[in-house]
């Protein structure tokens, strides 16, 4: 009798192992697929699905197909934490990809850290994100770099008096404004006026009226595309004609549609330019265009790189054990992605070049490359 039960247990165990062996490797993705920053989530998810297809066609990871469980945080505060908890507890994912917005990475990150599940943010540029802990990574540059790049660019253009208009609700916007201000004022510039707004606002006339009265040479608007488009439109109506500058948050689907030509001649820093002629970049653009019918933006490029880095790390780790996976991600070195060569430093941040883009003729144009 004992023997039989032993056999049964062994058989069941073997079956279980077989079942697991045929299983897939699950990774979670939380992104803003709807709501105010939907453009980011959609681009990111598109590119990740494209990358995923390629990974699985090439045999998956560790000989198993990679599966990505996608959750939408609706661009709303408070959703990310719930979703990340669900991905970890219910779906038992071995790693988490996401978010673009720093505020939402700061919500989801601590939960990943607590559960010791590695999280890679493709695009959260606020320094605080990776300071959460040793399980949190990013594959983009930081605002300390981005803000400096734009501060230097503004001074090089000969602008001495800047005004700043920040999104009070976004850690990203406040951080970027801080680094811009720091560089700009230390190197001979002057901030003549600061104003702020909240994500979701539509009326900026009050702020713009007071900015205009300060007569700046340029306005730094480190916000997200939705508000930036309305701000520039209203600013031009008010006769505030000076150039606007901003960061990677500008790149969004509706930016140019809503802004019309009001952003012509303005500049922003980004991760990726579709004008880059390198074969890696042009190959990615061709594949993305074939699948989705549009030119990928920087969020797409970063999303694509991030899923590839994760797959590479899972293969190098040889298992989905979170600690081993964490070490493998941390050891990422000279990974050739579409946003440049990516190496992660001791603080789990990527050091990468930035590009400065300008707007004209209804599209983004490459201006210059800035090495870290």
């Amino acid at each position: 009798m004992k023997r039989i039960s032993f056999l049964v247990v062994t058989a069941l165990f073997a079956l279980g192992v077989a079942a697991i062996a045929q299983d897939e490797i699950k990774v979670g993705l939380y992104a803003s697929l709807t709501g105010g920053q939907a453009s980011y989530g959609i681009s990111q998810n598109n590119a990740i699905q494209l990358g995923l297809e390629e990974i699985n066609q090439a045999g998956g990871v560790l000989g198993k197909p990679l599966k990505i469980i996608v959750e939408d945080d609706r661009s709303t505060p408070g959703e990310s934490a719930t979703i990340v908890r669900k991905l970890i507890a219910n779906d038992k994912v071995c790693a988490i990809l996401g978010e673009f917005a720093s505020s939402r990475s700061l919500e989801g990150g601590p939960i990943c850290q607590e559960n010791k599940i590695p999280m890679i943010s493709p695009g959260s540029t606020n320094p605080k994100v990776t300071e959460i802990g040793d399980y949190i990574f990013r594959t983009c540059f930081m605002d300390s770099f981005q803000g400096t790049v734009m501060g230097r660019f503004a001074l090089a253009k000969g602008y001495k008096k800047a005004a700043i208009l920040t999104d009070e609700k976004q850690a990203y916007s406040k951080g970027l404004a801080h680094y811009f201000r720091e560089y700009f004022t230390k190197n001979g510039g002057e901030i003549v006026k600061e104003q702020s707004y909240s994500s979701g606002d539509k009326d900026f006339r009050a702020q713009l009226t007071s900015l205009k009265a300060a007569k700046p040479d340029m306005v730094f608007v480190p916000g997200y595309y939705n508000e930036v488009a309305l701000i520039s439109r209203q600013a031009r109506q008010f006769g505030l004609k000076v150039p606007f500058m901003g960061g990677d948050g500008w790149e969004g689907d509706s930016l140019l549609k809503v802004a019309g030509n009001s952003l012509d001649g303005c500049y922003f820093s980004s991760h990726f330019s579709a004008d880059n002629q390198s074969p890696v970049v042009q190959g990615f653009i061709a594949k993305y265009k074939a699948k989705f019918g549009i030119v990928p933006d920087c969020q797409a490029a970063l999303g694509y790189d991030t899923v590839k880095i994760l797959a590479d790390a899972i293969n190098r780790a040889g298992s989905t054990n979170p600690a081993a996976l964490r070490d493998a991600i941390a050891a990422t070195k000279d990974f050739q992605g579409v946003t440049g060569k990516i190496s992660l430093d001791a603080n789990r941040n990527a050091s990468k070049p930035a590009v400065v883009q300008t707007v004209g003729e209804g599209r983004y144009k490459f201006v210059e490359n800035v090495e870290p």
Binding site: T34, E168, K202, R205, A206, S210, N226, Q237, S254, V258
Partner: protein, 310 residues
């Protein structure tokens, strides 16, 4: 001084949008003594109706190629878009009332109130499903340019249109309520529903009419707002809806002039706070006003305890 005047103008144009939405709240409250929390979402549907109707209207009434110049045909087109959207929302308002609120009319008022919140959430999410959650760029149905000859002040054509349309609608509404048979019936119903129906007034018809009228005003506000801030999304009605509710309470809920006064006061106050204090307090101010008014003058600025309500 110029800056202050400019801020006042900004506030007026923002306030007239609040005023238009507040009119709908106040009318429904006057007749049914209930806050239709889905009103802000009807406003959103109004803007989307305009978004989808504008290309059709342009097929019939071609807009000028040069959107920076004034032309009669573009104004006629804009007017047609406005009227059609108002019609769409009037139908929507009547439908909501028929399908959702009417079956609950005999239930406690709280039931209807909570149902209204449910309708609001439904419209927001159905809107995201139907229109897509990403913001859409509202077509330029009116020339986007400033009125000339005002020196340093900037007044956009659109801003002045909002103010003028609000005033016209207020006068029209006042006429409907005070001078027409329908309006008299509305006032009778507001005063005493049982007595009104004994006098041969068909309460259902009057209530439908009130909802239709209120929703049409919300649509007008949606279109006028979208002309001014040409980015629309399915969640755009939440905050303006709440603020217009505050405006209605501020002016004295149930009172038409009060709703307009409350809306404009709130718009100006908000703009001045953003311009001179801190943009952080923009939304807080509306709720601070609500609390203050409930504490010190619960009937609102123009509301009297025993006033004739509409």
């Amino acid at each position: 001084m110029t800056e202050f005047l400019q801020q006042l103008i900004n506030g007026l144009s923002l306030g007239s949008i609040y005023a238009l939405i507040a009119l709908g709240y106040t009318m429904v409250y006057g007749v049914l003594k209930f806050i239709n929390f889905a009103h802000g979402d009807v406003y959103m549907v109004g803007a989307f109706a305009g978004y989808y109707l504008a290309p059709w209207v342009w097929k019939v009434i071609p807009a000028g190629q040069d959107t920076t110049r004034f032309s009669w045909s573009s104004s006629a087109g804009a007017f047609a878009v406005l009227l059609l959207s108002m019609a769409v929302c009037a139908v929507l308002g009547i439908l909501i009332e028929k399908l959702v609120y009417r079956p609950l009319r005999k239930r406690p008022r709280l039931t209807v109130l909570i149902t209204a919140i449910g309708v609001s959430i439904f419209l927001e999410n159905f809107g995201q499903y139907l229109f897509g959650a990403d913001p859409k760029s509202f077509p330029e149905i009116l020339p986007d340019r400033a009125i000339e000859g005002l020196g340093d002040l900037t007044v956009m054509v659109n801003q002045s249109v909002v103010l003028v349309v609000t005033l016209i609608l207020l006068v029209a509404l006042h006429f409907i309520v005070m001078r027409t048979k329908m309006g008299t019936a509305m006032r009778a119903l507001a005063y005493n529903p049982a007595a009104a129906s004994l006098m041969g007034i068909n309460n259902d018809v009057i209530i439908s009419f009130t909802f239709g009228l209120g929703s049409a005003l919300a649509a007008a506000a949606g279109i006028l707002n979208a002309i001014n801030y040409p980015s629309i999304d399915p969640l755009m009605g939440i905050l303006p809806g709440i603020k217009a509710f505050v405006a209605a309470v501020l002016g004295g809920i149930g009172n038409l002039q009060g709703a307009v006064l409350g809306g404009i006061l709130l718009g100006v106050l908000e703009t001045l706070v953003v311009g001179y204090v801190s943009p952080m307090y923009r939304d807080a101010i509306a709720f601070a006003v609500l609390i203050a008014i409930l504490l010190f003058k619960p009937n609102g600025l123009l509301g009297r305890v025993e006033s004739e309500k509409v």
